[in-house]
Amino acid sequence: MVAGSCVIGVAVRNYCVVDGLDWVDVGVNWCYIKFMINPLHDLQYSETLAKLKQHPLSEWMTNRQWKWFPHQIEAAKHAGSGNDVLVLAPTGAGKTLSGFLPSFLDIHERGSNGCLHTLYISPLKALTVDVHRNITKPIEAIDLPISFETRTGDTPAGRRRRQKSKPPDFLMTTPESLALLLSYEDAETYFSQLRFIIIDELHTFFNNKRGDLLSLNLERITSLSPDAVRIGLSATINNPQRALDWITRDRGSLVEVSEGVRPEIEILEASSRIPWSGHSAKHVIENIYENISSAGMSIIFVNTRAQAEFVFQELWQVNDKHRRIALHHGSLERELRRKVEASMAAGKLDCVVATSSLDLGLDWAEIDLVVQIGAPKGVSRLIQRVGRSNHRIDQPSRAMLVPTNRFEYLECLAAKLEIDSGNLDGTSFRVGGLDVLAQHLLGTACSGNFQADLLYAEIIKAAPYRKLERNEFDEVIAFVSNGGYALKTYPQYNRLIERKPGTYALRDVKIARQYRMNIGTIVESPMLKVKLRNRTLGNIEENFILNLAQGDTFLFGGMVLKFDSLHDATVLVSKTNDDEAQIPSYAGGRLPLTTNLASAVRLLIGRKTNWKGLPGQIQDWLTMQDNRSHLPDDKRLITEVFEFKSRFYFVVYTFSGRNANQTLGFLLLRRMRRAGLKPMGFSISDYALAVWSLKPVENAEKLLEPSIMIDEFEEWLEETPLLKRLFRDAAIISGLVERRHPGQVKTGRQVLFSSDLIYDVLRRYEPDHILLKAVRRDAMEGLIDASRLTSTLANFQDNIISKKLDYISPMAVPLVMQISRESTVWSELTDDIFSEIEEEIIRAAKVQALH
């Protein structure tokens, strides 16, 4: 609980960012600030202001006619008096400096003592490097005697050693590197003089295992150095109090900077018809090109790597004005990505096509236009992306949304309306993972003996672990110690030894080395290097390559490549002159639609008064749906049954996101099989789910009864490969199996053991094992998203409308098309064949009028 926190809203006016740095001109003078935020002649304010005035940075700023920002002074005041602070501000509001300022003032006053003074943690290595560059500039300019260093996985070993023996004043790092530092035996002395911990992009840590690990490590630091002040920097979020609660020790202050000017968002008006399905944006490539040509620097965001490749390729096809267009996504080799980033910063590019690899707060360059192709999937995510073009807060950011199909048009408009009315997505906070806890316990043991009671008390201070039961904590200790098997153990091999009752020590230093190789919570599916002659182009998922035969072509790094062979975890390719290729379909990169945006879409569809912003063809489509079936809205769950090509389709418009829909699909298959309906398969989108069967569904209400989340769900959970996939991650994070490191991937002749086999054995012999428990909990969110599905089914339980139709409803057309696309063998699927199928579906649905 947070006691005594206060909320201060500071209106930001008239400022600009100069030289890519967050130094800010408030456009008012010192007196004005004093007057504005200090009507009560608060002592702390005068102290902070006095310190600020004496600080050489102030002179440096005055020389440049830059002034301090109110929220920066606010943060300095609170942190200076020993309170934790959370600064919420939009991109480009001088947020980073507000994090560092308290620390600058403090070290100026005390002087450097050769110990670690401030720790800066960011979610991205690249961001760490970027912030390091920006923050050291003025420090060097005024020659302050402060040392700044970064430490990430990329830091050379020599420098890491030096950083350990002779710590810099400021260390800028990532959560993983922090965990590593904390696992050394000298951690206690290393962190003992720490005064400030700055956590950047805090909002990226609330709902994932990385955040779990960070929260545990923050508590560790607090135990080692109780006075270290935490300063969190975050994008604007809708529930700041919970975020404050997450970051602070016991008391904290919130400094909130209100949004500047709302972004100007327009939706690209397509000159042609909007496609029924697909995500290609092919129909508007020319329009997009016109727009980026007339803008200065632009970023085109897409949702998947495959889409990035495709759009990039298409743009070059129409690039008759010779614009400099580049590509940036997570599969590309790091060097290539850095090169693109550097070119952007140097203004040598006109446009970059990017995935979420460019999402986070790096200030690359002055972006004039952000284009989002495809559905934004979430309001906050869209704001973040749009904010990339926000370099003057007094001017609105400009963004253009490009829906690639009809449903996406609805989603784009809904997102625009949400942003216009200032509604953000709900930030969700997760319960800490037990696998992460296991990793942390071992790390703690690596740094020295621990007492279980004290450690438990420390851990339940971390927000994600507040509700951790003592018996579960003990089970995790047992797991770390010897695997936690009830039936059989080999005490001679225990990793932890209980020295005295409740005091644990590491058996062997070798274990610490092993642990340090396995730190982290990000588990990637096996990736293979793509090599063109001697050049490494990047990495690609193993599964994709296993699908290819020699001679198949695919798009990668903007080139059409021919697959030649697979050799020692390397994919050998050659270049082709083909224009077209089969596009990589990556499993990752598909985020489900957020709950907030989903209900906004429901509202948009369900109320005709909201249709004003929709183009005629979309309005006609919805009207036809209204006449023939029923429109989904915020109060009712619509289902439809119709026949097409002697199959019966059962469509449920859940708007629950693709993960929850997929789960429901599996469960419905079971329930329908049981009811003798002979289901054949299902297909999903973010909005709906379609199951096809040999017999028609008669009683939709019965099928969708919430009990499905108990009866069928439990059964399915036992069998689903998704759970095995989650188990694989948990097994690695918890240290049950070792991480595969690049290079050592295929040194062994065969995979040593697969986590799937361990899962099967474990489930049979110890169904209550702590790791299985951890996995079941993970399953409720994320991939399986059971909690969202449960609430959808419960909310609409008594408001299900089932329509029996003679043919495909207008709204189901995209899904039926998707089904045909998915169930056709891809090698036989050409554009011609698909448009034939499409025609057939359009005729069958009698929607030619919309065509």
């Binding site: 080999y490 390719v573 002749r749 053991f753 697969s754 086999l757 361990i758």
Partner: protein
């Protein structure tokens, strides 16, 4: 061929099993990796079941029966007696593998190889051996499409002269058939038999063609 990974030889009334890797789970405990130590029990149950099903007179263990040389010592008394009971009324022939070379206990005398009815049984196939040969060691596996889902399953490999067994142990991984280790098999004469839940599936011609193509251009100098 049995979906458990065992091979039954009716004319010899013999059962062949390979790569049981008893006590593999516990062997990792030494290194501080606590794999569930129930694999031996599970593998034993599988073994008991196939013996009961085929009622052979002889059983051949094609090597790597034990995961390491101290595996017998780690094996629980209960599991030891289960193994001995299962083998009580049959003749057991132990061929040694790279993991259990030299044998793990005096109770079992192990051989390097044995010839039965003109066919040589050994752990690792010999390249220069031209006669008929049944071997194991590689834990062959491959990916098959199964109801639209791609799954990796262990498989038997059969060519004109060579036969490779999948691993029988429950905690043993597999080496993909496309790997260079199986290069000699990447041709049209080879047939793969994948272990399903209840039956063994034969590979399609196309599967092998794809595999062949994938590894077939090792000599392609241009791609190094």
């Amino acid at each position: 061929m049995h979906p458990s990974g065992a091979l039954y030889w009716p004319s010899q009334s013999s059962l062949l099993v390979a790569d049981l890797h008893f006590e593999k789970g516990s062997s990792y405990h030494k290194k501080g990796q606590f794999l569930p130590p129930y694999d031996t029990h599970e593998t034993l149950e599988k073994l008991e079941a196939v013996i009961k099903y085929f009622e052979p007179q002889r059983i051949f263990f094609l090597g790597d029966t034990f995961h390491d040389r101290s595996a017998w010592k780690r094996m629980s008394e209960d599991n030891k007696s289960r193994l001995l009971n299962a083998l009580e009324n049959l003749e057991a022939v132990w061929i040694e593998g790279n993991h259990d070379q030299g044998g793990v206990t005096d109770r079992f005398q192990s051989l390097e190889s044995i010839e039965v009815d003109g066919i040589t049984l050994r752990h690792i196939m010999q390249k220069n051996f031209l006669g008929p040969e049944i071997s194991a060691h590689f834990h062959p596996a491959g990916i098959i499409k199964f109801g639209g889902v791609r799954v990796r399953r262990p498989c038997f490999i059969k060519s004109a002269q060579k036969f490779v067994m999948p691993s029988f142990g429950v905690l043993t991984g597999g080496l993909d058939f496309s790997d260079d280790a199986f290069k000699a098999f990447h041709n049209h004469e080879t047939q793969l038999f994948f272990l399903g839940e209840r039956t063994v599936f034969t590979s399609s011609k196309r599967y092998l063609q794809n595999i062949k193509l994938r590894s077939g251009n090792q000599n392609n100098k241009r791609t190094k």
